[in-house]
Symmetry: D2
């Protein structure tokens, strides 16, 4: 059984059904009956007027968001271990035309007002240095940590004071919301977020993420940028349909709860071995190479994460019965 | 009935079935069991060793191809009405980092050795002018015209002599092959083509095109560029599966033949009204606004193409019985 | 005697003296005593509040201007023979990050409201096409033609109506003003120009052009872009000093008048041979290859401009006595 | 007396004389009699065949060098405090079209094989991470430290093994050579350097740096990139003349020796206050704010460099008599 990444899981049934149901002639690009519903549907979910665009990947969603917030000669503050900084092959630099990522620190890949201010304090306000124009945070983070509304708001206040745009990489936004139990609005626009990459693929989608603009004006240019990046699929209805299907009946939230519950079961079994508190669907364990090997010998697979550490990611389809044997094996180490 | 674009057609059954069959956990990105077969499968089809990457859109495929062939300070010769020049919102400029499209002329959006040489003759070989580094042709063209192998070879010879890379935008490559009846090799690498954007979406696919490198080395950097552009879908297997399903049993060719046959039926009905010879699945008609209106009143829809001209595009699912009423209506104008 | 280009002329005495006078320690970059005077000095000249930046080349000045007016996904309307389109090796595309130049027509490289509207009329207002965001005109044009204030204003009105920024490439702005005899304000901001590249190098400068922002806000980002392009010289005072020296006592205007007068003398001699009316310091002549050869045999050199045409450019240092022999030779052809 | 930066010093007499001597009509751009001599002159100096281009600024020279070595999707290893990383407003990102700077550590802004390997070891060889393609070092460094030939060679060996291009930012290359007393060849191409930004401006030039390609092929595209960046001055002869004047009679070396000697005098006076060994023309002192104030009260000015630290930079024109009072004042603190 594989726990490499929620990226690798299959799509959930509602998504496959929605694709089949959308398999009829309609207007190309995003003029179809599904795509045109996204704005309203997300506005309802977020309790404010938003503009929503489907995007095929989280990397493109993040990069388009940053390009909307930061000019080519600006900088984007992010955690040094943020996905945008280390795992996207320079996509933010491509989309922003060379804006500079300005890495700051924090435990569990979480930024804090202190670490952000510390970084900002190193930048002279003169033409020789790249000036910060945006801040990007990941919720849940790359280590499965969750920003609570007040934590985001504290960063939002810095952005507000300094004139920075605020982007949230929500590749695992559903997992964060499932953990927080708050309204999606509380941890986004109410806390100062301007643009959200709302992930669906890791959470049971097939090929659709949503890019949510809480300042609708920012979406106008992004529609051109999306096309220019070759991300305006001609049969966009299949992406919109996936998203709508996951919003209907809160499939997105159910899926995230299932993945989080599976991770929680592993966390309980892991006890002192946990490197980070488990708040979403990622579990980082201290294990010796021999211990890791013994788990693999039992049929479980996962990434080594540096020496003596392993990363296990649970997915929407990891029910209790599927994860229990791994939890047992971890407890028995 | 709509004849706006083959872009708007549904996906064909084989594609939907393939997606469902791929709906199982596998390695993320392009390490899955489907993606790894593409090189071999296309190498077989093209009778030479190729590298093949799935790409979600034709715009991205074209742009990645051009970026592989042309440096930021170079130029790409193309027809003034080429899709890359007028319908991709500057995507080639984005991916190449500002290479310049150098438009040349030709009937039916077809370049000829004469028009290409005429353009090249206007460019001084000095540092003040953008130097041509690639040539891009569309087969079938934006007006549904098809380049025969010897026509491509004549352009390939210019490229060879001048050190230009040769790209073929094959958004409707299947339609071209269905018309020509030749081996796909004859009209591509045997005629000097370096990179082909092989379209599947207009031909019954859902969200997958293939980018074929006849010089496999060119693919290496493109793998990074694809990721950097946010085009490396994490669940790439669903794209690979679509393509494989259309290659199996020559679905791609059957679909194209069906669309071409539908267009041929319309062409026969249109007679003298044809603006361009109908060789693929696009029909351009001379019609007055009143005539266009009368067709629409019968339930047929399509784009006006300037004053007194209409564009009708047929699709893989336009069987004879579906198109006959339109043919009749055209004949009766 | 060479009439290739005003580019090749020496610097005028006032410029050399100013450089020598500036050769003392001062604040680096543009904090020195010369640079800080530019805003006031140009504001006075233009009878309105402007921001002025020195730039070492016209190509960089033009490109920075266009980058200030046009986003990467936008388009810049210009004449098909404009310097920015054909003689800058893609610099505008580099600085704008791939904006597309949208070439329009007009005699003598002059755009007209009709040709601009004709071009704009071909662009659909949809996400597939690059949308125009700026217009660039050259005054005097690449063929030595001059836009009068009302001609600029007519284009400015289009820009105003369509929301386009208006850039004037004034590589030979001094020659245009010398011809028009109007206030520099009349043919720039009063006619709707947002940014002017004010050329000094062709007119007797050594290495300094001025970029004039009539909307001062546009200059703020450009200061960063200038640095980012490596165009913020550390000893900027030598550039500012050149410009100030040419503004003092209207050296810029005297130099331009001298060059224009020399061209006028040649024009008179040329009579019917003129391809374009001579309004600035460029003379385009119909001459057979044999005639061109005979002029060269007399010691005059210049560019052939296509078959049976020659381009002669006069400079600030071409006094009547220097040009008279060439005028005589032309008259004698 | 100001010790802010060698950037602010006047140009040396030989440079002014050379500019005056070049003030005659010649071929524009780099076809003039001075520019065409650069290749030979630098080939002689470096004891191997090189290609040399004049560039108006060090920022542009560095950025063009990096663009020649690193594709847009690649990375450039450099010191975290390197000028290219923190003081060029993102110019390397602009010129490389978004390549990523990959910062490594080392005392005195010097990289070591260990710190470079440590950084490289963090980069996975997969498509999600920016792959290193070049290494950039500064000699003398931003803290006035000098790389000896064997130190460069050790880094060159890593580059060789890993397929990285090696760039040397030689804004103060002359000061490094003056310190080392070696042949310029020893610390550049013999040690594996591919491209050198050879600074002249900080060393008594007015507006000319040289970009030296030890692999001459790399220069070909750079000539286009230079034009495209607006850095091909039309009156390039004035830049070439400056450089030639400083090479003649080893003015470049004499100037650097003078600046280094001035710094050495300050270093001797500073004793234990030195933060870094003084090897070139920069002196970093531990001083309290009160001590700094007392020096300023005596008429000496300089930058604070963080709390309790001051940076003093000497210039080619700082003779012993000019510096002695400052040395005395420092010794008396």
């Amino acid at each position: 059984m594989r726990f490499f990444s929620d990226n690798a899981a299959p799509a959930c049934p509602a998504v496959l059904e929605a694709i089949a149901a959308a398999n009829t002639l309609d207007t190309a690009y995003d003029g179809d009956g599904w795509s045109v519903k996204l704005d309203d549907r997300f506005s309802e979910l977020f309790e404010t007027r938003v503009r929503a665009l489907w995007i095929a990947t989280g990397t493109a969603a993040n990069s388009l968001a940053l390009a909307a917030l930061c000019p080519p000669h600006g900088g984007v503050v992010c955690h040094s271990e943020a996905h945008v900084n280390v795992d996207e092959c320079g996509a933010p630099e491509f989309y922003t035309h060379g804006a500079k990522l300005l890495p700051a620190d924090g435990d569990g890949a979480k930024l804090t007002p202190e670490t952000v201010e510390a970084l900002l304090g190193t930048i002279r306000d003169d033409v020789h240095q790249v000036q910060p124009r945006a801040l990007s945070i990941t919720n849940a983070t790359e280590y499965g940590r969750v920003y609570a509304p007040d934590e985001v708001a504290a960063l939002g206040a810095i952005c507000d004071r300094r004139g920075l745009g605020l982007h949230m990489d929500g590749a695992r936004f559903a997992n964060a919301i499932a953990h927080l139990g708050c309204s999606p609005a509380d941890v986004t626009w109410r806390a100062g977020v301007d643009v959200l990459s709302f992930g669906f693929v890791k959470n049971g989608g097939l090929s659709a993420e949503a890019l949510i603009f809480f300042k609708p004006d920012l979406a106008a240019d992004t529609r051109y940028r999306r096309k220019r990046a070759g991300h305006l699929l001609s049969k966009g209805r299949y992406l919109a349909a996936q998203i709508l299907a996951m919003l209907d009946g809160d499939v997105w939230l159910e899926n995230a709860r299932a993945a989080n519950a599976a991770a929680a079961m592993l966390a309980t079994a892991a006890g002192d071995r946990l490197v980070h508190p488990v708040e979403a669907n990622e579990v980082f364990l201290r294990v010796t190479p021999e211990e890791a090997e013994s788990l693999r010998a039992l049929g479980f697979d996962f990434y080594d994460w540096g020496p003596d550490e392993a990363r296990l990611v649970t997915s929407w389809n990891h029910g209790a019965e599927a994860v229990a044997p791994l939890a047992q094996a971890i407890a028995a180490l």
